[in-house]
């Protein structure tokens, strides 16, 4: 299989098992998926349904037990660890529910890190980090350590970090799961701007209000897709109105 011109991410018969014998757990069960370039896809489902595992598979953080996985016309489920690392460095950006910022690094240093890992010069990494922190509204917090930032600010730093190497797709795992309503709105506004710029987003969430902002919504249960809905409002609609936050 190869992705069609408009498809950025695709998978066929994707499966992920944990354990063996009677203890076997099928976290992802024969999933078929295509994500178009520039699309925002929301994946919903209850805790433990396999949506985070799916996200990890899509980003090359984990390997599938079976099936094919394609990203930007390249099959990635057979790549070596080194190639997967390069893929995560250049083509994928992650945003986690727990932020996963380096506690000893300032906001700016956290955002610089992916660029440094990608071989950019310290100056290039610094300039890019400043630019991104400006974009997420945290230029004045660039020298702060994560422990001195609010949850929303930390997640915005994490989003800036995900964008450091201009990835093709941003994979967000419950990005607002640890945030209050105001911080959730800040993050969603950022996603909206990313969508507007044509970035592909896959957001895993169990919050219907977040899912409502996507172009397409997939529901998961017991590792399999059980429903798919194309949303008309999407992130192009009135965000605050859609999710009932603010004016």
């Amino acid at each position: 299989m190869k992705t069609s011109g408009g498809t950025l991410v695709a998978c066929r018969g994707l499966r992920k098992d944990y354990g063996t014998g009677e203890g076997l757990v099928r976290a992802v069960d024969e999933v078929e998926l295509e994500v178009a370039r520039g699309e925002t896809l929301a994946v919903m489902g209850p805790s433990g349904c396999g949506k985070s595992t799916l996200l990890h598979l899509l980003g090359g953080l984990d390997r599938p037990t079976a099936g094919e996985l394609w990203l930007n016309d390249r099959r990635i489920d057979e790549l070596s660890e080194r190639s997967l690392a390069q893929l995560r460095r250049r083509e994928v950006g992650f945003v986690f529910q727990a932020f996963h910022l380096m506690e000893e690094l300032t906001a700016q240093e956290n955002v610089e890190l992916p660029a440094l890992l990608a071989g950019r010069t310290p100056r290039q990494a610094r300039d890019r980090a400043r630019e991104l922190l400006e974009e997420v509204g945290l230029a004045d917090r660039s020298r702060h350590l994560p422990s001195t930032l609010s949850g929303g600010q930390r997640q915005r730093v994490a989003i800036a970090r995900a964008l450091a190497n201009d990835p093709l797709v941003v994979l967000a795992d419950e990005p607002t799961g640890n945030l209050d309503s105001t911080a959730t709105l800040e993050v969603l506004r950022l996603f909206e701007s990313l969508h507007a710029r044509g970035l592909t987003l896959v957001v895993v969430t169990h919050d219907e209000r977040i899912a409502a902002t996507a172009d397409r919504l997939i529901s998961m249960r017991d590792g399999a897709f059980v429903d798919e809905t194309r949303l008309t409002g999407g992130t192009s609609g009135s965000l605050a109105g859609l999710i009932g936050l603010g004016s």
């Binding site: 953080l61 690392a85 390069q86 890190l113 890992l117 990608a118």
Partner: protein
Amino acid sequence: MGRLLLVIRLAAKDVRRNRAEALLLLVAIAAATTTLTVALALRGVTSAPYAATRAATSGPDVVAAVQQSTLPSQLSGLEHAPGVVASSGPYLIAMPNLVVDGHSDPVMAEGRDPTATSVDQPKLTSGHWVRKGGVVIERSLADLLGLKVGDRVGLDNLVGGGPGPGGGPGSSAGALRAVGPSFEVVGIAVTAALQPSPLNTYAHPSGFPEAGLVWVTRAAAEQLAAITGGAFGYTLNLKLADPSDALTFAAAHQHGGLVLISWQSIAAKEGLIVSIEQTILLTGSWLLGLLALASVALLVGGRMEQQTRRIGLLKAVGATPALVTRVLLAEQLVIALLGAAVGLVIGWLAAPLLTNPGASLVGAPGAPTLDLSTILVVFGAAITVAIVATLAPAVRASRTSTVSALADAARQPRRAGWTIALSSRFPVPILLGMRLASRRRRRAVLSAASLAITVGSLVAVLMFREHANSLDTSGGLGGLFRFSGPGDPLWERGMNVMLVFTFALVLLALVNAVLVTWATVQDARHASAIERALGASPDQVGWALVVAQLLPALPGAILGIPVGVGLYDAVGRHASTLPSAPTLLGVLVATVVVVAVLTAIPARIGARRPVAEILQSETA
């Protein structure tokens, strides 16, 4: 009782769950206690055997000797000197060569009566006393030459030129040919009237050459004197009314070619050899104790990182901080006690290695005594090390908030701004490695200190060798440890001490290197997982973990050089002889390479852990 059982069960379960770490801890403590046991076991060897030998042989209070071919009246006149209550001799000393398997050594052959005397009757450790055609060999000489009762030896003047007095043991006879009588070794004995071979300079270093001692019958001694150009000298053994007057007596009568040596002088020189070894071993055991402390601290620190969640669970089901502390302490104590028992047994078995070659005294060979005080000190040291290293992290861990412990929150790392800024100029493995090393400064300091001690000790050993080698080339005795070179029993014994010490030291250093890496791997699992999620490859993360160990290792190894010099100067008694620059460079390079190789294994394992699993399980 129920609470104690609970603590034991919980501790035992955790030990079973982490067997590899428990084994490493056991090795660390066993290595330290082995050296301590050897050092303590040698304590008795210093003085007790000489006293035992003196008692068993009716040892003289003063030995008088003269080096001339006729018996002077001054020597025999000493028998009646004021304060003398008993005597034996004078005995004729011949100086033939002892010929064994084509090798020759000059020996002093003392002519004795077949009947026992009341002063200085050598104690037989095997065989019989002198008889016609038989020779009794002093035990350290017999050990050196591998002689036993029933062997045949030549006592001879040599035709064709010999090595001459002072040639040292093991000189090759080459074209030499024995022409004198052949003797059967009928006995092996020890005496308190003699310093251990080859330091048996007898009465005075300038009076008698370095040679072993044998006893033959008076007739045989006269026959040997005849074929070697006359008597070499005479010796007389004296008992005083008050043995403590021996030093004064010896000084008062030392004139006219007479040389007198007191029992205290002989005892001091006997003790000197072992006391130096004891000094080395005690110093070594302190150093090893420090390394063991570092090992335990690293292990405990690493285990606390792993056990955060377990501690949270224990507290969540009602365990008090005190109970958690007790469980954590109990684990380390059980291992420490086992390690001490292992170290005690190995040390006890290893101690004879250090005493056998110089077996000139009763009680010196075989296993030195293992008394209650040694056992208590060894176990006490192991327990102290375990408690000191465990208590602080155990208390800290037990006081961690239950909620954050359950969440397995990683301990907050330190921030080193300048390191972070500087590291961004380097390739990815060095960049990540520098940042990793700076996260835990105390661990880096501990690691550097551990290597400084190890390299320092190695440098001290090298300096010792360098010094001993320089003595060897000059050909004489004397110097720092009075070693003359390979073949000399004192050299062999000294090298055995160094071997035991170096082995324990290197073993512990290797354990420490692995432990430091493992602790870093545990501590950095979250940071490493994030780095990999952001695009660092497993190889880069693995190399970063190695770099993180090498960064403190290099200054630690360099610091080891002055530490080694200081150590040598503190223990030794002579000016330092630094090893050559290439040797020192070799030690540094070898240290760095060994650390890199050792740390690469746990680093590789740690770098290949599944990222998603770590990021999912840790919410910090």
